[in-house]
């Protein structure tokens, strides 16, 4: 296989510098009249050798000419930004299979077995990856294992972004089979254009109850009540009333509310709470927390309603995610959005080509040094001949 067949250029204009090859050729061709001067005792013995006709021009100092031509060729390759397209071991393009966690959870055993058998037939069992953050490889046993499916925790994510990121990390893979469900919660976010060719295998999702889905919507919400030591206060901050309000909310929403309380004196910043309700008289807790999680004294009259509204909207959102689906056209149609700007590491990972520019620079430098040394030696040799003859 000809390695030069994989060489291509990014900038055709740089190739115009190849025209400069004519310069040293012309110089060396028409410098024949100079020749090397040698003083000889009797030139009659050399005789009259017939001069070459103009049509047969003679190149002088051929080695030096070759070096100079090579310099120009290297310069031209650098300016035209030559790239070397990495050839794969097989003549066909490499492909991979990406499977989303939700597909593994939702697909039936027959569907999984069918996928596994198909992968074995095409000898692509090594190129099966799980569409999670680290893209671990997926073995046949894992694919068919119910335990493995149970252990997976699908999250709201953007599979387009994950697939694009996978293509950046594996530039030699040009085609991917992606196994997903059509649940909208797997496609939250923008669709990303990518150079990889995707073949979508969409598993239509049936209605599932929230109890069957192990998603983050059923994560409990932690609420902390900060109370006065002596539990004195006005009616607004009555602990009993707050506990009553929260229990009503609890019944309306599917999220479980975990309610904790602590006295103001004992309160510390430790603990991860979704909401902190300050019922104490001290009113200085606000300095310690962001406004998103803290309900201040002034908001207390409205807070139960606010909390209920937030919880219900989130619940609705999560319910929507469960039931809303993407269509196949939405999956297949290419995004009109441009590719996101890549960092240099991503760019190098994204490139299916390798640039020999660094080696071209080194070669250019080496050739330049050799040309200079050889040229000087030739000039010195000619000068010594002339000097010897003068002496």
């Amino acid at each position: 296989m000809n390695p030069l067949a994989n060489l291509s250029v990014a900038s055709n204009i740089g190739l115009l510098t190849l025209l400069a090859l004519a310069i040293p050729l012309t110089i060396h061709l028409f410098s024949r009249t100079k020749g090397k001067l040698i003083k000889f005792a009797d030139i009659s013995l050399i005789g009259k050798v017939q001069q070459k006709p103009v049509a047969q021009l003679y190149l002088t100092q051929r080695k030096l000419l070759l070096l100079r031509l090579l310099l120009l060729v290297l310069l031209s390759m650098i300016l035209s930004q030559c790239v070397w397209q990495a050839s794969t071991t097989n003549s066909t393009e490499e492909s991979a299979t990406l499977v989303s966690p939700l597909w593994i959870k939702m697909a039936s055993t027959e569907q999984k077995r069918s996928l596994a058998d198909e992968l074995s037939k095409s000898s692509e069992e090594q190129n099966v990856f799980l569409l999670t953050e680290s893209y671990p490889t997926l073995s046949r046993e894992q694919l068919l294992s119910p335990t493995f499916a149970t252990s997976l925790q699908p999250q709201t994510t953007n599979l387009w972004m994950r697939a694009h990121h996978f293509s950046l990390l594996n530039p030699y893979i040009t085609r991917a089979h992606i196994y997903v469900t059509n649940s909208l919660q797997q496609f939250i976010g923008s669709k990303i254009a990518t150079s990889m060719i995707y073949e979508w295998h969409v598993l239509p999702q049936t209605q599932q109850s929230s109890t069957e889905l192990n998603v983050e919507i059923i994560k409990p919400i932690n609420v902390l009540l900060i109370l006065d030591q002596d539990k004195q206060g006005d009616e607004l901050v009555s602990e009993s009333k707050w506990r009553h309000a929260l229990s009503i909310i609890q019944h309306q929403v599917s999220n479980k509310l975990e309610i904790y309380d602590v006295s103001a004196a004992e309160y510390s910043q430790q603990g991860n709470y979704d909401w902190i309700i300050d019922l104490s008289q001290q009113h200085n807790i606000s300095e310690l927390h962001s406004l998103d999680s803290l309900v201040k004294y002034e908001d207390l009259p409205h807070f139960p309603l606010l909390l209920a509204e937030k919880l219900l909207s989130k619940q609705q959102f999560n319910l929507d995610l469960q039931f809303l689906k993407v269509t196949e056209e939405q999956l297949i149609n290419k995004s009109e959005k441009a590719l996101p700007s890549q960092s240099s590491t991503q760019r190098s990972a994204f490139n299916t080509h390798s640039s020999p520019t660094k080696w071209l620079y080194i070669l250019l430098l080496v050739c330049f040094c050799i040309e200079r040394i050889y040229s000087e030696r030739t000039n010195l040799r000619n000068a010594s001949f002339a000097q010897k003859d003068v002496n």
């Binding site: 020749g35 001067l37 003083k39 050399i46």
Partner: protein, 301 residues
Amino acid sequence: MIQQYIDPLTLSRVKDLPLIAKTVAQGFLHGLHNSTQRGSGVEFSQYRVYEPGDALGKIDWKLFARSDKYFVREAERESDINVWLLLDTSNSMLQGASNTNNQMSWNKLDYGRYLLATLAYLAQQQGDATGMLSLSNQHIDFLPARSGQPHLQKILLQLARIKAGGEFPSSHGIQTQINSIGGHGLVFVVSDFYQKNQEITHMISSLVSPKTDVIAVQLESDDEITFPYKGQIRFEDLESQQQLLVSAKRAKQHYLQNRAEFNQQLDAQMERQKVQLLRANIDKPLDQTLFDFLVARKQLA
């Protein structure tokens, strides 16, 4: 006998012509088993003050006992041979040796200079009268044949001062000097024998006589023998300054053929005139030429 020859490059570094002449000659003589100075017919000539380097065997100890000073006996062989040293000083003699660089230049003229200086020294050692003639159409230097140390110094000084110039003169221009070369003699003609109209050959033919033995020494360099040039070369004639642009590769075969013919022609001419022709490569040691000459003379004898 293992002869150690002095490399021409070594000679070129030492610019002292008398020293070189003495060193080469003594080295040459030291290698001979039969000294030409011994034998019958060697008579006392004069006393000379002892100089460092003189053989202790030559010191007259009786005279030392009388005078408390060292004197050397100088012997003089009965000889009426005049040794003539003719040197071609045309510009073609400036052809350099191949293994020299800018610092150490060595050409045919230098080689001829040192060769004749050595011969002059040898001749003086044997008591022969020595004369010298350098020939070019720009300079003709003539020293009559005399013996003795002072005359040797004159010859060496003249050889050191010689400059090349022009071409070899025609017979008309040197007739007077050629006529002075007569009698029982030995003539050394040192040249490269590049001639336009056979001037050198005519001169030699006018020198040859039953009483005069002529020895021609043709000087050549490795470059002239092998033609090692490559690529496009502009050759400039040293005498006419004419230039010739050739491809050395294409010209080489033609040149070597011409050179072989030139040498054959010269051999034939010298043989016709019964002149011994010696070829000396200036890239080879100078004393080797002397030994080659000696061997050739022995073979003739």
